[in-house]
Point group: C2
Amino acid sequence: MFAPVYFDHNATTPLDPRVLEGMLPYFATQYGNASSRHEYGRAARRAIDEARQRVACAVGAHPTEVVFTSGGSEANNLFIKGAAAYLKPGVVAISAIEHPCVREPAKQLIREGWRLREIAVDANCRIASADFCAVLEEKPALMSVMLANNETGAIQDVSSLASQAKPSRAWFHTDAVQAFGKCPLDFRMLNAAGVHALTVSAHKLGGPKGAGALVVDKRIELQPLIAGGGHERGLRSGTENVAAIVGFGLAAELAAARLDVRQTQLASLRAELEAGVVAQGATVFADINVRLPNTSYFAFPGIDGETLVGKLDRAGFAVAAGAACSSANPEPSHVLLAMGIESSLARAAVRVSFGMENTTQQVRDFLAALNDTIVQLKGLTAVTS
Amino acid sequence: MFAPVYFDHNATTPLDPRVLEGMLPYFATQYGNASSRHEYGRAARRAIDEARQRVACAVGAHPTEVVFTSGGSEANNLFIKGAAAYLKPGVVAISAIEHPCVREPAKQLIREGWRLREIAVDANCRIASADFCAVLEEKPALMSVMLANNETGAIQDVSSLASQAKPSRAWFHTDAVQAFGKCPLDFRMLNAAGVHALTVSAHKLGGPKGAGALVVDKRIELQPLIAGGGHERGLRSGTENVAAIVGFGLAAELAAARLDVRQTQLASLRAELEAGVVAQGATVFADINVRLPNTSYFAFPGIDGETLVGKLDRAGFAVAAGAACSSANPEPSHVLLAMGIESSLARAAVRVSFGMENTTQQVRDFLAALNDTIVQLKGLTAVTS
């Protein structure tokens, strides 16, 4: 069977074979419920404890600060809604480029009396300082600014933003789902600067779908989204997904190791790609250094991104048009619009996100296929116009 | 390695090897995000669609009525909180024997102006008719009565209860997590009687942890617990756990097949067990026919259940003391207390729950080990008293 080249690691990643190997015993023989008080239960509990250590160590947190969830969306909702339930309704301030799983729960707070304030970004997808200061004047009670953007890869200086926000006493959260494994992540340092919680997810870093975590300062009180048996210090009930949590622990450990080597390799693939696409006439978005090394977001003016992705798919390359997280969203990317990109150019956006199994040869093959496709599509456009 | 005999299938079940085999491709090669618009994404989407068909077919529902969640606790919370968000605060009525993941979200509604009313059960763990009628007089807006109890296995006539509740126009939910795979389940029939939603979970029926579903009448409006990318018809956002959902589909199909044969085999193991424990002086709780065929809940007066479970664990048998779903709950079972069982006897409760891989020989070995343990513990009691 012919396997297309996978260039969509910001959507999800292949499961690392070492991670799968570590998970398998928890399917086949160690299938206990971690709450059970017999050997099967204790084995499951030990596995979860060990995974919690690994995740904590990889993100620079204490194990008791790690609350396992079913994934990043749940962790983001847990923070936004769970914190809001403990606060008097006020201003919830989020960046204009947040993932829908931060934007939507923040919007849901409006009906409970909250005011939603979006923080502007500049043309490079970075928080606009003037607007950030203006937001602080409005005394937000809750804030969320993502560490790295899923579409452009742009990285925010969350540490500095949280420091600036500290006097406002807002509860400050950062969605680190895309950052984890691609740039350094240290909750202890972020926490000292004023970040109270961060979200991570296993399947973006070679781990399985179905596991994520909210890493949270224990001074923050949260109402659980999922109430019940009191698992995860009462913050997240439900039988723990032991195998997925074990996989998360292993993937986190692998993601934190040799990060600099991986960053260099990913950045080199991207440099090769971007030199090629620019030569073919593409515009690269957020073409800045403070960007995830694996992520490239570009557009060929006049060529629809969805169409291009479809053609590349048939040519054997899996890439994304805008964010690949919602099922049917025909609108242009809210991230690009927030950056001030024209709607027509935003509709042309294509995202390539590399992983460690990708090779220079794959990038070269991709550039050749892309060139053929662009020539073909421009020909069609020329005929129909 | 010596593997203890597993008699705790109501806590969780071994993953069926056929289910694991079906899941593996979605870890190893078909790792796409189901929202991605390339071949990896489409393969994941097809797998989810197929699993949804399988689950729907197994519970007698239409595929569009199946909302996948991370498990039963999430599905129960989604219904209770999600429905309450669309209703004017009123009375939420739940049976006194519900799982904490129904009880706790129902309690959380109190701070939003709801009144929580618990429906009494009789000594056999079945809904007390007189109290059920009294509850209906209070015009509940939301109701939840579990189909089969996790501790005693007692089965409620949910169809008849929902019919009686129909004139009250309450939104009626049933937690069918323990029932599915052990007794017939037909959402179409239940829905006609007046049940609007039911909860099922994969890991209780030979499927993986990390997948469950709320099966819900589409006329019911729910606010999502996890908002974001709009997955699952907007009712549950977050990257789908493809492998777990695939496993759920396969496990559901297997659980619905040859149910009568399995029921007979499980009931025969239980008959052997209960004859033995009664001969040794145990009291069997909810010793009635309308009970899950795999579940036996009993107590030896004067012998602490936790202690007995610990001794049996060391003898190589994994059984439960009370519900094994919360991490640290020293209180006697709320289910037994609701049945009017004395607190001292409730503390003696031990649950055995069989699965299809259990054998008559295992039951006989267990009875022998139990007898030794009881003799030993009674000797200790005699010495210390």
